[in-house]
Structure formats: C-alpha cells, structure tokens
C-alpha cells in the first residue's frame, strides 16, 4: 500500500519574460517527493533545478516569472492557484528552504535571534520567551555551540559553516514537512561540507520530514539521497533510485556526467567529456534537447522529443530505450556502463 506522495508536480511549465523574449526554464516536468524521502535533483547550472525549487516555494519573481501550465500538489493542496496569503502560511511552516549562499542569505543588520523568530511569529502563536527558547533549542539541534550567545549576534560574526547551520535551523524551526536545500554545501569548504552533510543526515533521521536536495555534485547525491532526478535544459531526463542511477545510468547525459568525474577516470588520463555546451533556449528544437551533444544521437533524436521510458521505476527520456528504435541505432560498444 502506497502512501500518497507529499509533493507531486505534474507537467510544470514556467516562463520568464525578459524584455520581449520569453524564456522557458522549465518545460514540462513531473516529479514527486514521498514522505520522509530524500530526493536529489541533479543538473548543471541553468538546467532549471533552482527554478523548480523557487516555483514550489511560490517565490518566482512576481513581474517576470509565471507558471504557464501544470500543477503542484503539496500535501493535498494545489499550490499553483494558491492566493499569496495562504501561500505565506505554507512558506517557512510546511515547506522551508535552505539556500546556497549562507553569506548573503542572512540579513546583515538583524541579529540571528531576530531573524529566526520570524517564522515562529508568522506561524506559531508563541510568547517572546517561548520563541527564544525554541530558537535556542533549534540552534543546539544543528550543533551550534554557545547557542545562548549566538542568538544575539549578527551574521557577520559567524563563520560560513555556522551561518549555514543557522540557515538550517531557520528551515527547521516550524518542523516543516518538506525541506528544500538548494546547493547547501556548494559554497563551503570540503571539511565544512562534510559537517553539514552529516548534520543533514542526522536531521533527516530524527525529523519526520522529506528533503529535496538540489545539487550539481554527484558525490553529495550518492551520500544523501534515496531517489535521484536528473535535469537537463528544463526537463527531467532521468529518474531512479540512487543505486540504480549509479549502477546503471540510462540517459547518455547522466552517463556523461558520471564519466567526466576525475575519480571515474584513470589518473592523468584524458577525461571523458560531453562535447559542446548547453543549448540556448532558442536552439532547442523539436527533438531531444541533448541531441546536439549526445554521442549516440540518431535521426529520430533530432526530429522528435523522446517520451519517458520506464523500466521498474527507472525512468529515462531517451530514444535509445525505445525498443523500436534500439535495433537500428545502438552500437553495443559505445556505452561503457559501470557495474
């Protein structure tokens, strides 16, 4: 018996207006996040992974961005049509978010306490004292020493790692059902990244919470996630359980990403690399968006966008998986798959 997913996105399209041009950073994605699950969204800059998270938060820039189509169902509520006031009740309460830059994501002119009290003020009816106590205990939960002092300090007095912990405690305060972490460790040093990842693992274990982890770092995904979604040029190209993805990536893009990691190559040897670059929005034609860089592309790839092919929960948008076109094109030797 399957529990209903916490978050379910269907056929989401997002548009940005810039001048007279319309840019479509998200072109029809479907994804779901189950309760207590950690889903990783992987992709390179500009693939639409951050826009996805902002769309879920309802934080698209008001004037220029809009949801063109699709639905976002969160815990039984349809978010796309939600009035701002109701949305505000969800933000910071049911869904919270951690951002990439801990240095700029905290307001420099307010103390940690002032900033952390905000979600509690908005969503919980608590007295001042109670708020303070809750904040201190949350700060302790994320492993900040001297929580009683830090609450009255300003962001610039803290190091990057501590700030990211503060951001995490901000996201934790109202015990959300879903936490979105947008590149939470990218700006941090390796040793600090290790600390934060450990912390996130611990929190995920102790709280009844789903985590949507957005990252470009496959290593982070391998360590953290239950399920992985790979995005490319505004689309989801592959989705599977974490072991399945690492064992047997199906989409050539996912394969390319993995193979280009130095650790997956022989030392000093030539690294595998995906040729070319992410297409401009205007260059995306009818076909597969990855076709122009794909080592296995064939005629159909340029002519027609591939549908989702699914094999035991492992989904991929690639014509190679089409049993019909397979025979004609697939060259057995060309895809070295790690096992």
């Amino acid at each position: 018996m399957m529990e209903k997913p916490l978050l379910e996105i269907q056929n989401l399209h997002v548009e940005f207006k810039s001048g007279k041009e319309v840019v479509r950073p998200i072109r029809g994605i479907d994804l779901k996040v189950n309760r207590r699950e950690t889903v990783g969204i992987v992709g390179e800059s500009g693939c639409g992974k951050s826009v996805t998270s902002l769309t879920v938060m309802g934080l698209l820039p008001e004037k220029t961005g809009r949801i063109a189509d699709g639905s976002i169902l969160f815990d039984g509520t349809e978010l796309t049509a939600l009035p701002e006031k109701a949305y505000r009740k969800i933000r910071g309460n049911d869904i919270s978010m951690i951002f990439q830059e801990p240095m700029t994501s905290l307001n420099p002119v307010f103390t940690i306490g002032e900033q952390l009290s905000e979600p509690l003020r908005q969503h919980r009816k608590m007295g001042k004292k109670e708020i303070r106590e809750t904040i201190i205990s949350t700060l302790k939960q994320v492993g900040l020493p001297r929580a009683e002092q830090i609450i009255d300090e300003y962001p610039h007095q803290l190091s990057g790692g501590m700030r990211q912990r503060v951001m995490i405690s901000l996201a934790l305060l109202c015990q959300p059902k879903l936490m979105i972490a947008d590149e939470p460790t990218t700006a941090l040093d390796v040793t600090i990244q290790a600390q934060i990842l450990e912390l996130l693992k611990a929190i995920r274990g102790s709280n009844d919470m789903s985590l949507m982890l957005i990252t470009h770092d496959l290593g982070v995904v391998a360590e953290m996630c239950d399920r992985v979604i790979v995005m490319y040029a505004g689309e989801i190209v592959e989705e599977a359980g974490v072991e399945a993805i690492f064992d047997r990536p199906l989409h050539p893009y996912t394969q390319g990403l993995m193979q280009s990691l130095p650790s997956n190559n022989e030392r000093k040897g030539k690294l595998f690399s995906i040729k070319g670059q992410v297409p401009k929005p205007s260059e995306i034609g009818k076909g597969c968006a990855f076709a122009n860089r794909c080592p296995h592309a064939f005629d159909r790839c340029f002519a027609e966008a591939p549908p989702v092919f699914s094999e035991a929960g492992h989904q991929s948008k690639c014509w190679l998986l089409d049993p019909v076109s397979k025979e004609g094109s697939r060259d057995e030797s060309s895809i070295p798959i790690r096992s």
Binding site: E84, R88, G92, S96, T104, S105, V109, E118, H123
Partner: protein
C-alpha cells in the same frame, strides 16, 4: 572607539585649517575692501591709512600667519564694516540656518522615504513612473525660480503666507518647501534605487521563504538595510542644505548664514567670510562624523568588532 574619535578630530582639524588657508588666499585675491566702505570722496592717503590700519599693506604671508594664529584661538577679527566680532556674527545667524535646514531635511525625509519605498516596491507602475518624473522635475527646477514662484502665488496673489522674514512656523513654510524640493527629489530617487537593490538581495528571499508578509518585509527588513546608505547621503546633503541655502535665504529674506556670507563676499568683508567658512567646514565635518557614528550604529558589521 576613542582613537576613532581622536583620529577624526585631527582629520577635521586639518581639513578646516586647509579650507581656511585656501579661502584666505582666494579672498585676498578678490579685491580691496576699503573703497567699498569709505566714502567715495575719501582721498587716497586716507584709503592707504585705513588699509594699513587693517594690516592689508603687510606681506600676505605675514597677514596669513597672524590670521592663523588668531583663528586657532577662535578670533577671526572684527567685521570690517560693522566692527562686530566676525565669528559672533556668524554664530548669531547659525540657528536660523539650522532651523531652515533641519525643517527642510525633516520634510524631505518624511516625504521621500515613503515615496521612494513605495516607488521601488511598485516598480514600473504608473505610480512609480509619476514619482520618478516628479523627482526629476524636482531636481531640474532652479531653486530661486521655484521660490519666486511660490512667493508670487502664495504671498502676492493669494496673500495667505508671508513672503519672507525669519521667525514663526508660518514664515518657514515657503522657504522650507523651496529648500526641500531638491532634497525630496534626490532622496526619493536614492531611496528608490537602494530599496530596489535591497529587494534583490538573497536575504529578502530568505525572509520571504520564512513566510514574512510583504508590508512587514518592506517596513522592517528592507528599510533598515536601505537606511544605511541613505544616512550617508542625508549627511552629505545636510551639509549642502546648511551652506547652500544662500539662494533660499536671499529669496525669502531669511536671516541665515548663507545670506550673511553672500553679503560679506560682495562687501569684501574678509573676517566674516573666513569665520563663515570656518563654521561651515566645521559643521560639515561634524555632520559627517555624526553620520559615521550613526552609520556604525545602524550597521552592526561596523558596530560589533
């Protein structure tokens, strides 16, 4: 903190002394005051006698040394014309100037900050466009023209407000408006653009993600961040308001420092001009100093070290 103050005091001292030096030589170049005071039929010997009595016949450097020696003790000499203590005369005009400048400043802040904030928030709306256009116009009007226009309308035609003179609140309305027109425009534009900057910041996104409602977001979060650069601008402009009110003071017969300085400049009344420069430079420096302190007060990144 203390050494910061000491350092600033020394800096202020240097700036003021240099300003005095420059103006001392400049004004000596501007001409001979004696013919302006003495009756036109005064014979040349008389003029020479008077000049030597004032010490203007000595070498310039000697005069400069003498002047500086006295100036550092707060003695700028007596007005050539009225023979009163020059510094005293300047100080006497100071309250009126302050009164006008501060009221103009308060008025501009009261109008411009809400206007700028709203304008930034409703960016590109009709409201914003009108506000932007108005502020540009506010900066484009020569202040004496605007002042005369106000007098023409409110004093001469409608006869509801006095045309000038110092004193009561009623007297202050028109000059305050005139003086504030430019600052309102400047502050509004500045508030708008800093606000736009702040609204683009990551931490605003964080606050939004915490579920903070928009009015609170602007009033509490964004405004405090914008305040920091605004304080610096306000400090700069208060200096200009104080010293640069010449035109407003002349147009509205306001008994302030700018008018005295202009008159003294025309009369070549050197001691007053120098005392005036001293006071203005000093005020300017003090304002900047206070602005720095305020800046540090509002900005915890400086305060907490």
């Amino acid at each position: 903190m203390l050494d910061f103050v000491i350092k600033r005091v020394i800096q202020v001292g240097i700036v003021v002394l240099l300003a005095l030096t420059v103006v001392f030589f400049l004004i000596r170049l501007s001409g001979d005051p004696t013919p302006l005071f003495l009756p036109p039929d005064a014979p040349r010997e008389q003029i020479d006698e008077y000049r030597s009595k004032l010490g203007f016949d000595r070498p310039l450097l000697v005069q400069y040394g003498e002047f500086m020696k006295n100036a550092v003790q707060g003695d700028f000499g007596n007005s050539l014309r009225s023979k009163e203590d020059a510094l005293g005369m300047v100080l006497q005009r100071l309250p009126a100037t302050f009164q006008l400048a501060i009221s103009a400043l308060v008025l501009s802040l009261l109008i411009s900050i809400p206007l700028g904030v709203l304008s930034a928030f409703k960016r590109n709306s009709i409201f914003d466009r009108i506000a932007v256009a108005l502020t540009v116009i506010g900066q484009a009007i020569p202040s004496f023209w605007f002042g005369l226009l106000l007098i023409f309308i409110f004093a001469a035609q409608l006869k509801v407000l006095p045309s000038g003179g110092g004193g009561s609140i009623v007297h202050m309305i028109l000059p305050t408006l005139t003086l504030a027109a430019y600052s309102i425009a400047r502050f509004t534009r500045f508030t708008r653009s800093t606000m736009l900057d702040v609204l683009r910041k990551d931490f605003i996104r964080t606050a939004k993600a915490s579920g903070v409602p928009t009015p609170r977001l602007i009033a509490r979060y964004a405004l405090k961040n914008s305040l920091i650069p605004i304080i610096t601008l306000v400090a700069l402009d208060l200096g200009t308001l104080l010293g640069g009110a010449v035109i407003t003071e002349v147009v509205f017969s306001w008994p302030g420092i700018g008018r005295l300085l202009l008159q003294s400049l025309l009369n070549r009344d050197f001691p007053i001009v120098l005392a005036g420069v001293f006071i203005i430079a000093l005020i300017y420096a003090v304002i900047n100093f206070v602005a720095d302190l305020l800046y540090a007060f509002v900005n915890p990144q400086i305060r907490v070290r």
